[in-house]
Symmetry: C2
Subunit: 192 residues, 2 copies
DNA sequence: CTCGATTGTCTAGCGGTGCTAGGATCGAGT
DNA sequence: ACTCGATCCTAGCACCGCTAGACAATCGAG
């Protein structure tokens, strides 16, 4: 069985390579530059090999998105756990979120803008996505205010962050107001 | 000169036809279905004719976006002018914005998600875009609160609406909470 | 040890994309 | 009536996502 195991290992390794290469290429040159041909060339295999790992390009984007969701949840938890008090945690969360989006624009795009074929807000939502939302909820639930469901509040806060992230990336907001936008958002939305 | 004038008129008419057809096709079958070939076939001209009006597909998307911006500003102004009091106006604005996004998903996508090659938040921003932002500002400036610049407040409120619009369209939020999200947003962000 | 079956990978190609060069056609002005 | 510029189309380029089918390597059975 050892031979088979080795093959499986190598196969899994190659799959990681595909996802990592797609991500790297997307971050460096944008998702438009991530073509199956280029991707195949980078991993030094022929095009059809990609299709033995993924159904198609969408699924590769989806894999990058899932990876991103895990990292994002991590980033958010790390930032919030280092802050004292609900309000500081909410601020830290907002910054961590926007920082992640700014530092990993292609991953963020894969997660929320491009259709990676992922389900959201449903039972069959992949675990990493659920967990990323959970990471937001852990901190934001504290500042939802009386009589407001944490889930509802988190959706609204998240939507606001998402709006800021995408409009900022698309250069539709004034750059110099970035910090004050976050302050205002947390000030108004979070209770205490 | 009458012949030339007629030709110019016909040319302008054909340009409107291109934009209208692109928009219609995008709303019915999504932007992916808007290919230069299909578009050319619909307007009953050959492909290269498109390029005598626009530099490329991006510019056609941009034209649809500009048209959308004008309509959106109109929709927002109509809704807000029919409401009594700052708070009701803010609520009406939010609903009008989200309604527009929901009813014209392809146009909304052209405006903010797809790159139509348009400049935002700069001097060379096209007038319709500036005006659409102005339409938001007129109403939202009233509820920015003391010491908060109307422009800053509008950016934040707008970002929140944009987040809700895009995450809703992408089915990343619970549909049954839609109304309460708007209520919560206006309640918290708007000052009286 | 041999030989068929299975697995893995590649080459080649299909139908589509955005975009453009170059030739045909048409009509306005002399 | 003829020229010549404007207008439009055919044909084609390079690229896209994706796949069929050939080929080689590897495995298991006799």
């Amino acid at each position: 069985m050892s031979v088979q195991e080795r093959k499986q290992r190598e196969r899994a390794e190659r799959e990681r390579l595909i996802v990592a290469t797609a991500r790297e290429l997307a971050e460096k040159q944008g998702w438009d530059a991530v073509t199956t041909r280029r991707l195949a060339e980078r991993i030094e295999y022929s095009q059809p090999v990609l299709y033995s790992h993924f159904r198609g390009k969408r699924e590769i984007i989806g894999a990058v998105a899932l990876e991103g969701a895990t990292e994002m949840a991590q980033a958010v938890r790390a930032a919030t756990s280092a802050a004292d008090g609900p309000r500081a945690r909410a601020t830290a969360l907002a910054h961590a979120y926007l920082d992640f989006a700014e530092r990993n624009p292609a991953v963020y795009e894969a997660l929320f803008d491009l259709d990676g074929g992922l389900a959201f807000a449903r039972e069959d939502t992949p675990a990493p996505l659920k967990d990323a939302f959970a990471a937001l909820l852990e901190t934001l639930g504290e500042v939802a205010g009386d009589g407001v469901e944490p889930g509802l509040f988190t959706e609204v806060f998240w939507a606001a962050l998402h709006g800021l992230a995408t409009l900022t990336r698309a250069q539709r907001l004034l750059p110099e107001l970035a910090e004050r936008r976050v302050e205002l958002l947390v000030d108004r939305l979070a209770v205490i």
